[in-house]
Amino acid sequence: MTAKRSSLVVILALLSSAVYAEPVRESRDWVQVFDVGGAPTLEVSNIFGDVTVVAGPPGTIELAIESVRSAADAQSFELSKTRIPIVVEQSGDMVIARVGRDQHDWDRVPRCYRCKVEAQFTITVPVNSTIDVGTVNDGLVTVNGVRGSVSASNVNGGIRIAGLAQCRYIKSINGGVMLDYDVRPKEDCDIETINGDIAIRLPAPAALDLAVDLGNGRVRSDFDVAPRAMAATVEQRSRGGKTVYDIQQMAGLRIGSGGAMLKIKSLNGDVRISRSKNDD
């Protein structure tokens, strides 16, 4: 009986400590400046919050980070610093900023209770930088004036890129994508959304090729298009005693005399190709 009572008291004490544990929250803002060469690379991987990149003077990458770290209790808060660190590092001309660890740790024991790091990144890079930036929740990915190759991703938010010259991939799951080229696209680019609209602005006269794979959306273009023959792609892979051949054919279109290929995929979004505002 005594033992039972003791264990009951311990359980109640634990429960009360869990119920009355004070959530912890800490804000931290800082700026870091890195010296880089003429065509540096920037990689940013955020989880909660915006990523904003603007073109600035050559020679430096400047990162401004506004972060809020929170957890259910002090112990979890301390744990979150190793589970969800904010990492900023430089390797030669490459600067990497990341929220969370490089490798996913799926069996997270002990659990980091209600741990969260919200971070707003504002980064100034040299105009010719190559950038690869992304976030997951509660954020927008914005890039302005970067003339190097741009790659951007977002899961539950939009992507807006202005002053674009070239991109490698732009991928969003539930947000819209807006790409505002201020020159003819210089390189092939994959543009994908599941549930967002895709808006592409091009200066006239436009010249590019399009490969289109659309589910339920509509397509509208301010430029006349011509059909373009596309070769189907076949990828072969073997696993677990079976061989799979994935065969894909996209519809091809050409604007003007053709040029860089934009591969556009959307399941439920509309696609709009329009003239740049400067052409109005």
């Binding site: 298009v225 079976k242 799979v244 091809g252 279109l253």
Partner: protein
Amino acid sequence: MINYRIIDRTAAALVVSLVLLTGWPQHACSQTAPINVALSEPGQPMTLRVQILSAKIEIIGERRDDVQIEISDASDGGRSIVTPSGTQRIGGGSYKLSATERNNTVDIGSDWRMSAIGLIVRVPSSASLDIATTNNSTIDVTGVTGEMQLSNVNGPISVEGAAASVIAESVNKTVEVSFASLADVSAVSLTSLNGNLLVGLPDRSSAQVQIDTSRGEIASDFEIEVQPSEPIVSRQERKGKVEVSIENMIIANINGGGPVIRLKTLNGDIQINRIAP
């Protein structure tokens, strides 16, 4: 006096020449290079399964040890783009499908939202088939001697040179199956709701046909001996309900009877054809 007939002919010839020179205005049509799928055990029995929502499917049986797939766009440019010059069809189609080989079974399936495609599959002639499609679709099989199960909801089914059991069903279109031989056939079932059923049998074939058409006509190149038969009553009990169905079929023998060929349609005609030797 002007001879209008000559002018008409000249104009027509000019139009035909222009069309031949330039081709009809069309979308950028696309076709993949043939894809050869190797079998795990070449030379052994294999099965081809195809499930595509909308496809014109042609299966060709021939002497080979692998499966060859050719895909083409069979859509009429289902999606359109609005441009300053008006709305244009986006030709060339877009599709995504996969072919998987495992233990001598090849599965071909597609993305559900895919526009119609043309699919030509060349298989070893002894292959077994399990083919299903639904809309804007056809199934054509030639030279395949294995068992086959074919389903096409809104399109026709055609089989030439069958030599084993065939189950073929189309809801709204014609099902036509001709046999090279009935020697290895255990049972055949051709059904349709609104389509005709045509079965072709080699001369001197022996078979038992079970025929059921509610509103169609029945014709046979063979003499048939109608057998006395009674309605087939089936009774099913489930969840407190009793379901009784009565099926009244004509049962008839051709040349004394043989493997059962069941032909059932609601609104279509039934025709049993003799294939000339």
